[in-house]
Symmetry: C2
Subunit: 205 residues, 2 copies
């Protein structure tokens, strides 16, 4: 298909498609002349993935590029590809004011659950900054509360990983995990906001 | 205390404090001369709350103003104050490309759980846009999966609301709920990212 059709099918404007081509986010079409190229289903699919990362995940172009490099990696294990994707996705997490550094409560949660996560996993600094925000407000989180969230997250992640089709290609697996991380995070966040409004109404309505 | 001390105690720079005063996010100090004012613990507390909304919640100044108006409301029930705060907090949710509108799956989840949520609850459009992103990717969410997230969110919200100190002042209650919505959302997101990395390692490591 021509670029105009690709735009119509994917819902991404032609100038934006040209931008993604220049930025290397989208692979080139097959040249049919000096000024024209044709595109296929792989381009439609990639544009839809980019749209999800941009619109649902609110990732920057640089972060999207890093995610796609991880999805397309031709060397390394699936686990290494997933780790690279997770690092790229972590760039969107709020830094909490940049007060980085380890927090013993985070390390304790990870150790007590036996979670195997890299020392540079973005969730570590992200969790630490949320805990420090509560400290500053004079409402430090209790150990039991933290354990409750860890148990809940552990269950959610186990269920989510069980949905991944392990017979897919390496790229297909990484793409499924990336989409799951980004989109189901928003599903969970939205559901919690809805449920909070309900339980607020129950308690204070 | 003087503005320089307020800055030191709160960790917010003096120019930023002056900006918040001009923008009406922070109440004025007590004037001691034409050019000087003194501040107290209420200013320290408010600055810490603003910092959490800005750094952890990544709210815009306009959204923070709306949240604080809800926290400070002198009329209306606590529930009305909470609804106003929830609408203001909803401004930060990714719009998913602006394709708004109701989605029957969202309405069905809300109805089946008996959740009492306003027609303009930001979580509705937010959830709908996440579901439509999955549709576009050719991976529409199943009913059971959606039910799993709804059950999880319902449990999390019930637990969170049970932590709210109902003997606090009206403003105190609303502030607790706002902080809980913003900060524990990030706690949950960070924990899920960590747990996902672990379960990815288990399955593909």
């Amino acid at each position: 298909m021509r670029i105009s059709e690709l735009s119509a099918v994917s819902g991404v404007s032609t100038p934006t498609i040209k931008f993604y081509l220049r930025e290397g986010l989208l692979h080139a079409g097959e040249r049919t002349s000096a000024t024209q190229a044709v595109y296929d289903e792989t381009h439609v699919h990639r544009l839809r993935l980019i749209r999800v990362l941009r619109e649902v995940g609110e990732l920057s172009v640089d972060a999207i590029r890093d995610v796609l490099v991880a999805v397309d990696a031709e060397t390394g294990t699936v686990h290494q590809m997933l780790e690279a994707a997770s690092r790229a996705l972590g760039k969107t997490l709020p830094s909490g004011g940049g007060e980085g550094g380890a927090d013993p409560r985070v390390e304790s949660v990870i150790a007590s659950r036996g979670w195997v996560v890299g020392p540079d996993a973005p969730g570590r600094a992200h969790l630490a900054s949320a805990l420090r925000a509560l400290d500053r407000l004079g409402a430090p989180v209790g150990e039991e509360t933290l354990a409750y969230y860890a148990d809940t997250a552990d269950h959610v992640a186990a269920v989510e990983l069980s949905f991944i089709d392990g017979t897919a290609s390496r790229s297909g697996i990484v793409e499924q995990v990336v989409v799951g991380t980004v989109v189901f995070e928003q599903v969970l966040v939205a559901m919690r906001r809805l449920a909070e409004e309900h339980h607020s109404a129950l308690r204070f309505g």
